[in-house]
Symmetry: C2
Subunit: 537 residues, 2 copies
C-alpha cells in the first residue's frame, strides 16, 4: 500500500516534468503499449510520479477511461514505479486494451476516472435479489460488451444471477440484450441451421460430420465455433488442423454462399461480445448456471443468423448434466427462451457416460473425424452413430423430409462419400492445411497407461481424461492429447494399454504422467458394474 | 488472445534457453520484482516464451504458486512479451507479492499451478444459497487471509454472502474465522475498551477525543485505526498529522503499558488480515452488507484485544444507515455476534444528517480535534458534544461509575485540560510532528463555494462533501480538504461562503471546482425544511 509519506518522498526524489494540457484542459499523456496479456481485462499502467496519479480515484484498481482521436477504452489502473514499464508522462495499456483503442504508440491521450457503468444500479438490484426488466438486462449486456465492467463487477453479476436464479423471462431478456449488444449476421435464407453441444464430453466432434452431411443435402449451415476454454479441443481448434479457421467475415460469407456451410472460428464476427467477456469470469469460477448457459449459447446462435438449432445435452456421471431430470429442466429452459427469440430448437439428450470417439486433442480428433468421413475400418463407431443421429434430426427440419427419415438420408450421404466431398470443398475454400489421417502429426513423446487388473471398463471419467490431455499440452500443442484404446464395457487384461498420451515437451509429458499415475480416469470392474445408459438415443 | 499459431511462431523467433530443474525436478526460474502496484491482488508475470508457459493452466489469469526457501505466495498470472518486464528465465511478482515471498530478486524459485483453495467447495455451496458451517467459514477466512482467493473469487464470496444473506449464526462463524486467521493481541488487562464508528460521516473524528478522555480516567484503550478507504480522512490519517502512527507492535505495547492508550494505524499487526483482503473487493463494488460490516468491525476489535466496545451508528439521509429501523436491525446483529464472541458492546445510534465538526481532511480535522482539546472558542461544538457523550458511555463500563454520570466525568476531564495532557503524552510517545492548530499547514490553493440564494441550510450531503474533499486531494495530500462555514439550520445570504476548498495541486483544484460547481452538496431553503433529527442522543 502506498502511504502518504512515501508518495511525497518519491515525488521529491524523481520530480516529474509537467505535462501539457489538451484543448479541454485535461492533462495529456503519451500512449504506450505494455506487452502484458491480461486475458480480456483491460489494464492501464500509470507511473506513481505522474501528476494525474494524485487525483481522486487514480489509485490502483480504479477504473479509468483513456481517450484519443474520439475513441476510448476503459481499463483498470495498475500503478508502477518502473519507468521501463511506463514513464511518468505516459499511460500504458495492456495488449488487448491497446488494440481496442486502435491508436499508435506515442499518440497523445487523456485519461479520466471512468463514470461508473450506467447499469451498476441494476447490478446492485440483482445482487439484492430483485427481478430486473428488459431495459436493465439490455443495459447490463451493453456495458459488459463495452468492457465497462471490472472483473470484480463481472464476477458479481455472474454470482448474483446464479445465486438468485433468473426466472425464464429474465433469461430471455438477458439473451436478447446480449444479441443486441453485438453484430447480427443475416444470411438472407429462409432456413439457416446449426447444431451445438453444451460441452463437457472429450472427443465429441460431431459438428465436423454433421455440417458436411447437412450441407451436402443442401441446408445452409454457417457453423462458427469457439476455441477450447477448459477442454482439450474445441471444434475451431480441431478444424484448424485441417484448414484455416480465422476468416474475415466477408470471406466467411462468400464461402457460405458458395458451399452452403463453413466450419470457422466465431471470434472475428463480434457475435454476442458480452458472452466472450463473461466467459473470462465464468471459467476461473467454474460457474456454469443454466441461465448463463442458455443465454450464452442462444445469443451466439441467433447473432450468427441461425433459425433452426439441434442442441445436444449429454448426460452422465462425469458430464455437465448428471441426471435426466436435470437435463429435462435445462431442455425446457432452452425451449422457452428459443421460442421467445423466434428460434426453432430441437433438444436431444444424449449418452454422456464417457468420451466420444477415440482421440482427444486437436490432431487426434481430426484423425477420427476424417476416418469417419472416409468410412475407414478404424473409424470410431460411436462418433459416427452420434453424428448420423444428430444430422438426421437436423435434416428433418427440411419440410420435404418426413419425420424418421433423417437418419437414413444422413447415412446415405456419409456412406456415398458426398459428406467427404463437401468437407474437402470446405477445407479447400477455407485454406487447406496438409493432413493425412493415416499419418497424423502427433506430438513427439508418448507414454501408455495400462490396466492394473483384469476386468471390464466400468467407468471413464470425462473430466479426468480431459485434464490429462490438457496437461499433455492440448489444445495449445495440436498434436498432444490422449488416444483411448478401450471404451466402456470392453474387457481388458492386467497390463494391457488403456490409453496412450502424446506430448511435445518433456515437462508436459511429466505433468500428464504424474496426473495419470495419481488417477488414470479409468475404473475396471465386473460386467454388471458398467453404468446404465441414462437415455436411449 | 494467444492462438496456437502465433505461440509457435514466437517460439521460433526467440528460442528460450532451457532452464535448470530443481531437486524435485521442477523447472526453476529467477525471481524478479516487477514494480507494479496491483492493490492487494498478487500478480505474477511470465514471459510467453518461457517453457513453463506451455504447461497446463499456465495461461493468463491462472492462479500459480511461487515457491522459494520453503516459502510460497499465490498469484494470478499475467503473460508478457516484453523482456524488460521479465525475461523468459524469470518469474516476476508484483510489489506486494514480492514482499510477501520475502526472497531477494534473482533467487531461484519454482512455480506450479496452484491447487484450488480447499474452501472453494464451500464457496460454491454459499453461491448456491446454502448455509455454511463454522468449519467452512474458518476455512474460507483462512484461504482469504492467505491470498488464496483471486479477485473474482473474492467478489463471488462478497456477493454470495450479500445475496443469500447470512443468518446471524453464520455472521458469528465468519467473524470468529476471521479472528482465527490472524494475530490476536492480549493486553493482560481485565477491561480493554474501544470505540468505533461504522463510518460515512466526514469529519467525525471523535476517537481522537474519546481515547485521551477515557485513558486520562485510567481505562485501557489501545486504539488502532485504519486509513481512509473511501473517505477523505481516517483516524490514522488525521493522527498522522500530529504524530507517527506506523509503529511496530512491540513499541505499541510499550506505549499502551506506559500511557493506557495509543492512537495508531492497525495495519502492522496482522489483525484479521482476511478483512483487509475483502475490503479490496468491497470498496470497488461499494458493497457494505450488514453481515460483512459486523464481521469486519468485530473481528478487528476482538483481534486487537478489546473486550468492551462503544459502537457509533450515525443515521441520516446521506449516511450509511438511512432510517432508525435499519439502525435497530443492525444494532441487534452487532449485539448478537458480540455476545457470542464474549465482547461487551454498547451500540449508540447518532445524528448522521451532516458532517461532524468544521474541517474535512487530515490537517483540517486535526485542527478541530486540537481546538476541542484546548477548549478553543472556535472549537466545533457538535464534535465536542458527540465526543463527550461517547466518552461518557465508555466511562460507564468502569464498575465504579454510576449509569448517567459518564458524561459529566468526561466533560470534567476535557475542561480541566487532563484530556489535552493525555493527548500530548500520546503524541510524544508515538513521535511528535510539529503542528500548531492556529497555523495548520493547509494546502496552497483555495477556492470558496457560496450560497446562490438567501435562506437557511436545509441539507449537507455527506457523500458529496466527502467526494469534493477527495477530489481536492485528501487524504493523500494531508492539507487538502473542505472547511465548512455553515451547518444545518444556519441562516445564509446569497453570496456568503458555504465552505472553502483547499488543494495543493492545480489539477486537483480543478477537479474539486468542477465537482462543487456541478453540485455543491448544500441545499438552501426555508427553516421548516430542515430535516428532523432522527434520534435524540
Amino acid at each position: 500500500m502506498t502511504t502518504p509519506t512515501d508518495t511525497t518522498a518519491a515525488l521529491k526524489l524523481s520530480p516529474c516534468p509537467p505535462v501539457p494540457p489538451s484543448d479541454d484542459g485535461r492533462t495529456q499523456l503519451k500512449l504506450r503499449r505494455v506487452a502484458i496479456d491480461t486475458y480480456r481485462e483491460n489494464v492501464a499502467y500509470l507511473h506513481r510520479d505522474c501528476e494525474l496519479y494524485r487525483a481522486e480515484g487514480f489509485q490502483a484498481l480504479a477504473k479509468v477511461e483513456v481517450r484519443a482521436n474520439g475513441r476510448r477504452v476503459l481499463a483498470t489502473l495498475n500503478v508502477t514505479l518502473d519507468p521501463r514499464i511506463v514513464r511518468c508522462d505516459e499511460i500504458g495499456l495492456s495488449m488487448e486494451a491497446f488494440a481496442q483503442l486502435g491508436v499508435e504508440a506515442g499518440h497523445p491521450v487523456t485519461i479520466q476516472q471512468a463514470e461508473p457503468p450506467a447499469s451498476i444500479a441494476a447490478l446492485h438490484r440483482k445482487i439484492g435479489g430483485e427481478r430486473l426488466t428488459r431495459e436493465e438486462f439490455y443495459a447490463i449486456a451493453r456495458d459488459i460488451a463495452e468492457h465497462r465492467y471490472s472483473k470484480i463487477e463481472l464476477s458479481a453479476f455472474v454470482v448474483a444471477t446464479h445465486a438468485s436464479e433468473l426466472d425464464r423471462e429474465e433469461v430471455y431478456f438477458l439473451t436478447e440484450g446480449m444479441i443486441a449488444a453485438g453484430q447480427r449476421l443475416d444470411w438472407r435464407e429462409r432456413l439457416v441451421v446449426d447444431k451445438h453441444c453444451i460441452g463437457g464430453i472429450p472427443g465429441n466432434r460431431t459438428s465436423m460430420l454433421v455440417v458436411p452431411i447437412v450441407a451436402a443435402h443442401g441446408l445452409v449451415c454457417p457453423k462458427t465455433s469457439s476455441r477450447a476454454i477448459t477442454s482439450p479441443a474445441g471444434t475451431a481448434d480441431t478444424m484448424e488442423v485441417l484448414a484455416e479457421v480465422e476468416l474475415p467475415i466477408e470471406r466467411l460469407q462468400e464461402i457460405v454462399r458458395a458451399h452452403r456451410a463453413c466450419l470457422a472460428w466465431g471470434g472475428t464476427a463480434q457475435l454476442s461480445p458480452a458472452d466472450d467477456v463473461l466467459i473470462a469470469v465464468e471459467r476461473p469460477l467454474s460457474l456454469d448456471s443454466p441461465a448463463q448457459m442458455v443465454a450464452s449459447i442462444l445469443s451466439k446462435k441467433v447473432a450468427a443468423g441461425s433459425n433452426h438449432l439441434v442442441l445436444d445435452i449429454p448426460v452422465g456421471p462425469t458430464a455437465k448434466v448428471r441426471s435426466v431430470p436435470d437435463a429435462q429442466r435445462l431442455r425446457r429452459l432452452f425451449e422457452y427462451v428459443a421460442r421467445r427469440l423466434g428460434l426453432s430448437i430441437d433438444v436431444v439428450i444424449t449418452d454422456g457416460r464417457q468420451p466420444i470417439g477415440q482421440g482427444i486433442g486437436p490432431v487426434l480428433e481430426a484423425r477420427d473425424v476424417m476416418r469417419v468421413l472416409h468410412n475407414h475400418p478404424h473409424a470410431p463407431i460411436d462418433l459416427r452413430q452420434k453424428a448420423l443421429r444428430l444430422a438426421g434430426r437436423l435434416l428433418e427440419c427440411d419440410p420435404d423430409i418426413r419425420g424418421g427419415d433423417g437418419y437414413g438420408i444422413a447415412r446415405d450421404i456419409l456412406d456415398s462419400g458426398r459428406a467427404l466431398a463437401k468437407m474437402q470443398a470446405l477445407i479447400e475454400a477455407q485454406g487447406a492445411r496438409p493432413f493425412d489421417p493415416e499419418r497424423p502429426p502427433l506430438a513427439r513423446h508418448r507414454f501408455e497407461v495400462t490396466a492394473a487388473r483384469d476386468g471390464v471398463v466400468t467407468g471413464i471419467d470425462n473430466q479426468r481424461i480431459a485434464r490429462i490431455a490438457r496437461l499433455a499440452g492440448a489444445p495449445k500443442v495440436a498434436g498432444a492429447g490422449v488416444d483411448l484404446m478401450r471404451k466402456l464395457g470392453e474387457p481388458v487384461r492386467a497390463g494391457e494399454v488403456l490409453y496412450h498420451v502424446y506430448a511435445e515437451y518433456p515437462a508436459d509429458l511429466e505433468f500428464a504422467r504424474e496426473a495419470s499415475a495419481h488417477a488414470s480416469g479409468y475404473t475396471i470392474g465386473e460386467p454388471h458394474e458398467v453404468p446404465q445408459m441414462f437415455v436411449e438415443f
